[in-house]
């Protein structure tokens, strides 16, 4: 725990030692606002909820989260600090988890800064705050899953651009896995069971069910196991490819 904490604090501080953190937060907030009010029609709907806000989170994360996760391991590789980090008396798990949690905590900070929207909707009407809380939890879980996948992909390369593009593509497919766009590609030749399995991997249905205010154990297990599996793969990849 001690080492996880040390790695976490170093990583978290690193976001704020460059303009990255501020640019990320400003863009995240600006885009979230524009999408909610313009595309989502937050005011025109005349409904006291944050559905038009949360609805766009998967799409916002799709290109903002890879921008965060791409540096996690690719940067260590490029700078050579991976050799330093892994020759300290620290385990691979501690390094992977510490870095991952820092990225997640940073994302949570950005998401938490959208609180004025929550204040606004409470000022304008009487929303179901339980649903809003559940949606925030669901959003963070989904962000966590994107981050874990991004961290894993970042471990395969020293090129951050490659990490970004591959992560965005992977997350795009996972987000849409349950939709016709992806399923049609498989339906021509894959057996029905496989298609259903692919469909179940879609992020959207899981996020949407949490967004309705029900935190179902199945959705928690879905995102939780995805995160854990991606991080285990992350550790294996770092260990396996550290010589290159």
């Amino acid at each position: 725990m001690r080492n996880v904490n040390l790695v976490f604090r170093r990583e978290f501080a690193a976001y704020f030692s460059t303009p990255l953190a501020y640019i990320f937060i400003v863009i995240f907030l600006a885009l979230a606002g524009i999408l909610t009010f313009r595309l989502g029609g937050f005011l025109d709907r005349e409904q006291a909820d944050l559905v038009p806000f949360f609805e766009f989170h998967p799409w916002l994360y799709l290109f903002l989260i890879p921008a965060l996760s791409m540096r996690l391991w690719a940067e260590e590789r490029r700078l050579g600090t991976i050799e330093l980090l892994l020759t300290l008396p620290i385990s691979m798990t501690e390094a992977v988890v510490g870095k991952y949690l820092a990225a997640w905590a940073f994302t949570a900070t950005a998401v938490a800064l959208t609180f004025p929207l929550w204040l606004t909707v409470n000022y304008l009407g009487n929303p179901d705050n339980g649903v809003i809380l559940a949606s925030y939890v669901g959003s963070l879980l989904m962000a966590g899953a994107y981050l874990a996948i991004g961290s894993m992909i970042s471990a395969t390369t020293k090129n951050q651009v490659i990490a970004f593009v591959v992560t965005t593509t992977t997350c795009f497919i996972l987000t849409l896995a349950g939709s016709p766009a992806v399923l049609d590609f498989f339906s021509a030749w894959a057996p029905a069971d496989v298609i259903q399995a692919i469909g179940n991997f879609g992020f959207l249905p899981h996020f949407q069910s949490i967004q309705r205010g029900v935190i179902d154990l199945r959705d928690l297990i879905f995102f939780g196991s995805l995160i854990i599996i991606a991080l285990i793969a992350n550790a294996i990849i770092v260990d396996w490819r550290k010589a290159f």
Binding site: L6, R10, A14, T81, E83, L84, T87, P89, K242, A243
Partner: protein
């Protein structure tokens, strides 16, 4: 002299290529061992295996009584290591960076500050301690890397090309530092600069194509050539490998 480092049949292959081929030696405190060899001879790979970064294909290294295969964490805790190029997090200041390393090495509170302070003093980086590492000269960066490897006052120090790319003054500073510590430590440095061996090492091992082809004091090696020139020995033993 206590024996603190023993290498047994250390071998590393990548695919069909054997980069380090059955390296054996032991070293003790008071020794400064210089790995000498052309680029790509396997010096760095050998070091990376000793400190537990790379897993050997065969053989093992025992550092301060800990086997790197069985207990890599104990080896990592015992050894001080400067990777090639002295990598460090560019956005941190030396102070923050050393404080992070000291934390991971298990020091807290006043003890941690004291360790950092002492390492900064030993490597003479006081003037730049609060500047981002990114903005430092190569010489200072190297000394930050050295400071990092010295924090826990390790008995065994593995330094991969500690003076490579430094100007003569900077080289001098680093060499003096190594000489100052040589008495109570076992130091292994790698270099492809022959004068370095003469300047700081008590023992030189010439490595080429992953094999140790000569091992002895710099004076011994010089005696092998008629002219007493280290360059000539180096060329002779590395040419036909």
């Amino acid at each position: 002299m206590t024996q603190v480092l023993s290498i047994h049949g250390l071998t590393k292959s990548f695919g069909h290529e054997t980069v380090v081929d059955n390296v054996n030696f032991t070293a003790g405190t008071g020794e400064v061992v210089g790995f000498l060899g052309p680029n790509g001879a396997g010096k760095s790979t050998t070091m990376k295996m000793i400190v537990g970064f790379l897993t050997p294909s065969a053989g093992t290294a025992v550092v301060c009584g800990h086997d790197v295969l069985r207990d890599p964490r104990a080896v990592k805790a015992a050894v001080g290591y400067l990777p090639e190029g002295a990598p460090a997090y560019p956005d941190m200041t030396p102070l923050g960076f050393l404080s992070f390393i000291a934390g991971v090495r298990g020091y807290d509170g006043a003890d941690r500050r004291e360790r950092v302070e002492r390492a900064i003093e030993m490597t003479r980086i006081h003037d730049v301690a609060r500047q981002p590492i990114d903005t430092l000269s190569k010489g200072y960066k190297r000394r930050v890397g050295l400071a990092q490897s010295l924090l826990h006052d390790p008995t065994v120090l593995i330094l991969d090309e500690p003076t490579d790319g430094l100007d003569p003054n900077q080289k001098q500073v680093v060499r003096e530092l190594i000489r100052d510590m040589a008495q109570e430590k076992c130091i292994v440095i790698s270099t492809h600069i022959l004068e370095e061996v003469d300047a700081v090492c008590s023992r030189a091992m010439i490595i080429t194509s992953g094999k140790v082809v000569a091992d002895g004091s710099p004076a011994d090696l010089k005696a092998q050539s008629g002219s007493g020139d280290l360059d000539e020995v180096f060329r002779k033993v590395t040419a036909n490998a």
